[in-house]
Amino acid sequence: MSVPRVRVATVAERWERVRVLALAPDAPSQRAAQSLASGRSWLLTGAAEPGALWGQCRGSAATPYRIVVDLAGPAYQCSCPSRKFPCKHALALLLLWADGSVKDDVGDPPDWAASWLAGRAAQVAHGPAREPADPKTAAKRAAQREARVASGLGELDRWLCDQVRQGLAASQQAGYGHWDDIAARMIDAQAPGLAERLRALASVPHSGAGWDGRLLEEYALLRLLAVAYRRRPELPPPLRETVRSRIGFSLRQADVLAGGAQVRDHWQVLGRRDLEQDRIRTRRTWLQGRTTGRPALVLSFAPVGQALDDTLSVGTDAHADLVFYPAAVPLRAIVLTKHDVLDGGPPAGDTIAGLLASFAAALAGDPWLDGWPAVLDVTPARSCVPAVSDAAGHALPLHPGAGDCWPLFAISAGRPVTVAGEWTPRGLWPLTAWDEGGRAVVL
C-alpha cells in the first residue's frame, strides 16, 4: 500500500499537550477537549503559515461549529455558544495539532477563517497605543492618586466601623452586592488591592462554622491597613511599601529591577497555585533558595484563555538571579536572569514547629501576610479533618479548600513524605509532594 511521506511540521513548532491543556479554563474543559480530540466529530482541519489553525466540528447544533486559532497570542474564535473561553472545540483543535493530526498542506484557509485571521493580523500590527511618559504629568497623576486613595480609605474605615457598630450578624443575610458596592468604591478610589480583598469577603458568611470570626479578622486587618496608610509617614520605608502594595499600588518592573535586592541562588521550585478572579488568572509560584534558604514568590498573570508563564517548572532547581520587591518581608520577586535549570530532587523538609516559628517571625514584619511557603516532612493523617503530622507528633490541618487531597495520601501510604505547600491561617494548602522515587508530583 502506498502511504504519503511523513511531513515535517512547517507551520510553527508543535506544542506539547500539556501546554495546550494549560490553556483550559477548568478541568472539565480539559476532559471535554481530550475526548473531543480522540473522537470522530471533526469534518475538517487545517493549518497554515504563520501559525493559524482551523477546523469544523460536529456539535449539538445543526450546522457544524467553525473554529479558528491564531497561535500567536493565542487567540480563538469558535461559532459554538459556549461561554467558556477557550471552548472545548478550540482546545481539541489544538490537541489534534499537538498530536500531529492536523495537516498543513490542505491549502489556504476557508473564507470564514481567513477573514478572522486577517482581522487579527491588522489588530496586532497596530497594537495598543502607548501613552507618552512625561515626568511632570506623571508626578501630577501620582499625587492625584494618593489623594484619591486617602479619601477612599477614609470611606472604607467608616464603612468598616459601621459594620461593627450595627453588628456582623446581618452579614449572613446580605447578598454579594453588599461587598461589591464597597469594592466598586475602592476601584474608583484606585485601590484595586482593597477591592479584591473586599469582593473575596462575600463568600465568608457562607463558609461554615467560624465565619463570624473570619469576617471580623478580615475587617480588622482592613482597618489596620487604612490606619497604616493614613500614618504612612511614620512607617519605616519597607513597611510603607508593603502597605502600598496591599492597597494596590503597583511598582513598575523597571523600578523594582533598578532598586531591589538581587539574590543569586539555586532556587528550588516548590510548588504553584493558580487562582482566577475577574477573568484574570494568577499563578503563584513558590521558590526557596538552596543556599540562602530564602523563600520567594513569583507571580504571573494572564487573561483567561491565555497561557500562564510555565518557565519555572515544579520540581526543578533554577540557578537564577532574583530581584525582590521592596517590602517589610520581601517575598515577591522577579526572575532577572536564569542561568541554568537543574533536576532538583526533594527539598529538605522542616518540622511543623519550625514552620510555625518562621511564619510568626514573618507576621511580625507583615501582619497582613496570609500565605507562607511550607516544606515539611510529614505523614498525612485523618482525624476529624485531613491533616499532616510530623515526627514530633505535631499536626496541622489541611486547608478546607484543598479537599480530600487523596493523591497526597496515596503517595504517602502512611509513611512520611516531603510536602511543599502554602501555609495559611486556615490550614496548609498542599501543592507538591515528592514520591518514593524522589519525583515531584503536583497535587
Binding site: M1, V3, P4, V6, Q30, A32, A33, Q34, A37, S38, R40, W42, L43, L44, T45, D99, G100, S101, K103, V106, L160, C161, D162, V164, R165, G167, L168, A169, D212, L216, E217, Y219, A220, L221, R223, L224, V227, A353, L356, F359, A360, L363, P367, P380, A381, R382, S389, A395, L396, D404, W406, F409, A410, A413, G414, R415, D435, G437, V441, L443
Partner: protein, 436 residues
C-alpha cells in the same frame, strides 16, 4: 482564647448594643485606644488579637494512620504514568483496561498519585462490567487496598484482591463473580474445577460461570463447554457455542470448518481468480446446537436469512481452515475479489479473527480497510473500531501508524489514532518490563 470569642460576640451584636471587651496580649503593653468610636476600638483590638493568634498558633495532634504494606512490584515508568493520566482525564478511556491488564501482566503497579483518580473511575463503571474494577484493584497493589480502607467509595478493591472463601460461600452475585474471576486469573484449572463442582446446583449462575471462563480460555475447557451446548437455558447454550468457536481446534470449530468449506471455493478462469460463495441452504438442528441462529436478530444491516447464515458460519470457523484450504496467507486471501459477497466475507472473517484473537488476520483486515479508503461500504465502521482495539498494533503496517496523515474520514482517523496510541502505550509498558 476566650477574649477573642468575646470580641467576635460583641462584633456580631454590634457596638451599638454591646460593650467592647478589653484585650490583653501577653508580653505586649496594653494598647492605648486612641480612637473614640467604640467600633474602631473593637476593630483595633481584633486586629491585634488576629495577628497574635496567627503568630502564636500551636500545633495540634492527629492520630497517625497505619502504614500500607510494602509493595514488591515496581512502579511503571514516568512515560507510562503520564499516559495513564491522559486516559484518566478523558483520552481513549476505553483503552484503560488494556493499559491496566498489561501493567498487571508485567508485574508493575500504578503510580501512587494516580490511584485516587483510577479508583474513582473504576467505581463509576457499572457493576455489570467488573473487569475494570478487578484490574484497577490488582494494578493498584497494596496502596489501593490501603486507600480503600480510608474511603468507603473504594470498598470494591478488597472484594477483588483478597477474596476469601467467604466471598464465594456467602457473598452476593458480584462477590461470587469477583472471587471466581480472581481465581481464574491466578489458577485457571482451579477455577474450572470449582465451576464443574458447582455446575449442577447452579441455575442462572451458569451464564456467569461461562463469562468467567472467557478469560484464559484453553482447550482444557472444551469438554465442559461441549456439554453445556445441551443445556436447557438458551443463554448458556449461546455462551458455550461462542466460547467453543473461539477455540480454533475445538470439535465445534471442526464442524464449522466442514460447513464453511462447503460454502466457499476459489475459481480461476480467464477473468482471473475469484472467491465464490454459496451460503448454506438452511439452518439444521446441528447448526442450531452449535449456536447458530436461523434468522438475523435486530442487527443494523437488513440481511436475508441465507446471507445471515453465511455470516454466522464464517464467524465461527477457525481461520486456519482458509489458509489450509486455499494455500494462501490471510493477506492473499483478502486480496482475492469476491464481488457482491465481499462485505459479508469481511464482516464474518473480522468476527472470527476477533473471537480467535488471530493477530495475522486482524492485521490483514485492518491493512485492507485502511488501504481501501472510504469504509462503510465494505467494512462497517464499528468492525474497524473493534479490530484496531484488539490487534497487536506492532503488526499493522508500521508506516500506517507512523503516518501523520490522519485526516478525515472520521472512521479512518479514529482507527489510526487508536493504533498509534496503543502502539506507544504497549511499547512504554514493554520497555518498562525489560528495565526490571
Amino acid at each position: 482564647m476566650s477574649t477573642w470569642q468575646d470580641l467576635v460576640t460583641a462584633s456580631l451584636i454590634g457596638t451599638e448594643r454591646s460593650a467592647v471587651p478589653p484585650v490583653a496580649v501577653p508580653g505586649l503593653p496594653t494598647p492605648a485606644d486612641a480612637p473614640a468610636d467604640p467600633a474602631a476600638i473593637l476593630l483595633d483590638r481584633a486586629a491585634l488579637l488576629t495577628v497574635a493568634r496567627r503568630g502564636g498558633r500551636l500545633a495540634g495532634h492527629a492520630d497517625p494512620l497505619p502504614a500500607a504494606e510494602p509493595d514488591p512490584a515496581a512502579v511503571v515508568s514516568p512515560a507510562a504514568g503520564r499516559r495513564l493520566a491522559r486516559m484518566l482525564s478523558g483520552e481513549h478511556p476505553d483503552l484503560l483496561a488494556e493499559w491496566l491488564s498489561a501493567t498487571v501482566t508485567h508485574g508493575r503497579r500504578v503510580p501512587a498519585h494516580l490511584l485516587p483518580a483510577l479508583l474513582d473511575r473504576a467505581r463509576r463503571v457499572s457493576s455489570a462490567g467488573p473487569e475494570l474494577r478487578r484490574l484497577a484493584a490488582l494494578a493498584g497493589g497494596s496502596r489501593a487496598r490501603w486507600l480503600a480502607g480510608l474511603n468507603r467509595d473504594w470498598a470494591f478493591v478488597a472484594a477483588h484482591t483478597r477474596p476469601g472463601d467467604g466471598a464465594w460461600r456467602l457473598g452476593d452475585a458480584g462477590q461470587r463473580r469477583g472471587y471466581l474471576a480472581a481465581l481464574r486469573a491466578q489458577d485457571p484449572d482451579a477455577a474450572r474445577e470449582l465451576i464443574a463442582a458447582s455446575w449442577d446446583a447452579a441455575g442462572p449462575e451458569r451464564v456467569m460461570f461461562l463469562s468467567v471462563l472467557a478469560d484464559r480460555l484453553s482447550p482444557a475447557d472444551e469438554p465442559m463447554l461441549e456439554a453445556a451446548l445441551g443445556d436447557r437455558a438458551q443463554d448458556v447454550r449461546g455462551w458455550a457455542a461462542y466460547l467453543l468457536a473461539s477455540l480454533p481446534r475445538s470439535a465445534l470449530g471442526q464442524r464449522m470448518a466442514e460447513r464453511a468449506l462447503g460454502c466457499m471455493r476459489i475459481e480461476r478462469d480467464m477473468r482471473g481468480t475469484r472467491l465464490i460463495a454459496i451460503p448454506p441452504a438452511e439452518c439444521d438442528a446441528a447448526m442450531r446446537r452449535d449456536g447458530i441462529t436461523p434468522r438475523p436478530g435486530g442487527g443494523r444491516l437488513p440481511l436475508d436469512d441465507r446471507t445471515h447464515l453465511m455470516l454466522e458460519v464464517l464467524a465461527r470457523t477457525p481461520l486456519l481452515t482458509w489458509s489450509n484450504e486455499f494455500g494462501r496467507s490471510a493477506e492473499q486471501i483478502l486480496a482475492v475479489p469476491s464481488g457482491a459477497w465481499e462485505p459479508v466475507l469481511l464482516a464474518g472473517w473480522s468476527r472470527a479473527a476477533m473471537a480467535q484473537l488471530d493477530q495475522e488476520w486482524m492485521a490483514a483486515l485492518i491493512n485492507r480497510a485502511l488501504a481501501d479508503g472510504p469504509p462503510g461500504k465494505l467494512f462497517g465502521a464499528e468492525i474497524l473500531r473493534q479490530l484496531v482495539r484488539r490487534v497487536d498494533p506492532a503488526l499493522v503496517a508500521s508506516e500506517t501508524i507512523a503516518s501523520r496523515d490522519a485526516g478525515p474520514p472520521p472512521a479512518i482517523h479514529d482507527a489510526i489514532t487508536v493504533l498509534r496510541f496503543r502502539y506507544d502505550m504497549l511499547k512504554e509498558l514493554d520497555v518498562d518490563h525489560s528495565d526490571g
